[in-house]
């Protein structure tokens, strides 16, 4: 099929004038090239799928954070269950002792440094046993002399009380 030269030339975009529809359609098709079937090739189908894909991208931003937090919580819970305490107790206890480890780091420790994680659970058990709270399924932690430091830890703000 022989097309004459004028048919190949695109209308050059100018201000206040319609430019060639090719430019807008190509933009959508660039986003759709990995889609399935004709949605990746035909503009009228691609336009719908691409707009929906953008909506999904927007919506998933908040959902992704929540899902990651859920995953971390699940992993911490499972790791703590092996040592006999609930995951919430670990996170709460570490916060009260001013040990600043967030859920992301705790689940990394639980996977890659299990003995450090166990020592954290021991700390939390010690803290709670000093307050008289004993988790039901837990083995008692190794006896450690804490001298009340877990209950009132030295932080930059209260250092003057301990000098």
């Amino acid at each position: 099929m022989h097309l004459t030269c004028p048919l190949w030339v695109r209308r050059i975009p100018k201000i206040y004038r319609n430019n060639d529809p090719f430019y807008l359609r190509n933009l959508y098709l660039q986003f759709s090239f990995l889609f399935r079937g004709r949605s990746s090739r035909c503009f009228r189908l691609a336009e719908q799928r691409v707009i929906k894909a953008f909506q999904h991208m927007n919506a998933m931003r908040a959902v992704r954070k929540d899902r990651f937090k859920q995953l971390c919580d699940e992993r911490i819970d499972a790791a703590c269950a092996q040592h006999g305490i609930p995951g919430k107790m670990l996170v709460d206890g570490l916060g009260r002792m001013n040990i600043q480890l967030n859920r992301k780091m705790l689940q990394q420790l639980a996977i890659y440094e299990p003995y450090s994680f166990k020592s954290l659970t021991d700390l939390v058990k010690q803290y709670h046993s000093e307050l008289g709270i004993v988790p039901p399924n837990a083995e008692p932690p190794a006896p450690v002399v804490t001298r009340g430091l877990l209950q009132s830890p030295i932080v930059p703000g209260n250092r003057k009380y301990y000098e």
């Binding site: 990995l34 691409v50 894909a53 790791a79 092996q82 890659y112 440094e113 299990p114 450090s116």
Partner: protein
């Protein structure tokens, strides 16, 4: 869709640069600017303040070029050891920003800027050993089979034969 369009990569350096020895990956940097137009003012000030010479002296491994181009916006062109070329538009930037772009290019490896899976990467992420069900003794996943919590399984071949035998002996007797 975003992950399909721009695939994510892991942090990496060309030829493990920095593991034993660090080589600056920036080979040539060219500052193209106009001598008259106002959007090149920052670039001109950067040169006149002596910051360009300071950069060139501090980095003898980088070939620094100046390219005055009439009636063109200012651009920073950086060429790297892996052959890639990166352009930074410094249109109407203050001199301090131009200086920061120079030093930023000095620290780059020339790899494409792509979204990362994670901001960290380690080939040995575990020092104590990755957790297994056997790390703290066999205390996880213990139980006997068949477990009453599982769905009732269809009878095994042995059980079927035993059932048949019982039925047969009941009929016979």
């Amino acid at each position: 869709m975003s992950r399909q369009m721009l695939p994510r990569v892991f942090l990496s350096q060309p030829l493990q640069n920095g593991v034993s020895r660090y080589t600056c990956q920036l080979k040539r940097i060219t500052l193209k600017f106009c001598k008259f137009r106002p959007n090149s003012l920052g670039a001109r000030e950067f040169i006149e303040n002596g910051d360009f010479l300071e950069f060139a002296r501090a980095n003898p491994q980088v070939a620094c070029y100046l390219k005055p181009r009439r009636n063109r916006p200012p651009v920073l062109q950086a060429e790297f050891a892996n052959g890639s070329v990166q352009l930074a538009r410094i249109d109407s930037f203050p001199a301090e920003f131009v200086r920061r772009w120079f030093w930023l290019m000095r620290g780059r490896s020339g790899d494409d800027l792509l979204p990362l899976h994670e901001n960290l990467r380690s080939f040995h992420p575990s020092v104590q050993g990755v957790w297994t069900p056997f790390t703290f003794g066999r205390s996880v996943g213990l139980g006997d089979l068949p477990d009453s919590r599982h769905r009732p399984m269809s009878p095994s071949a042995t059980e079927l034969i035993q059932q048949l035998h019982r039925l047969q002996s009941a009929r016979m007797s």
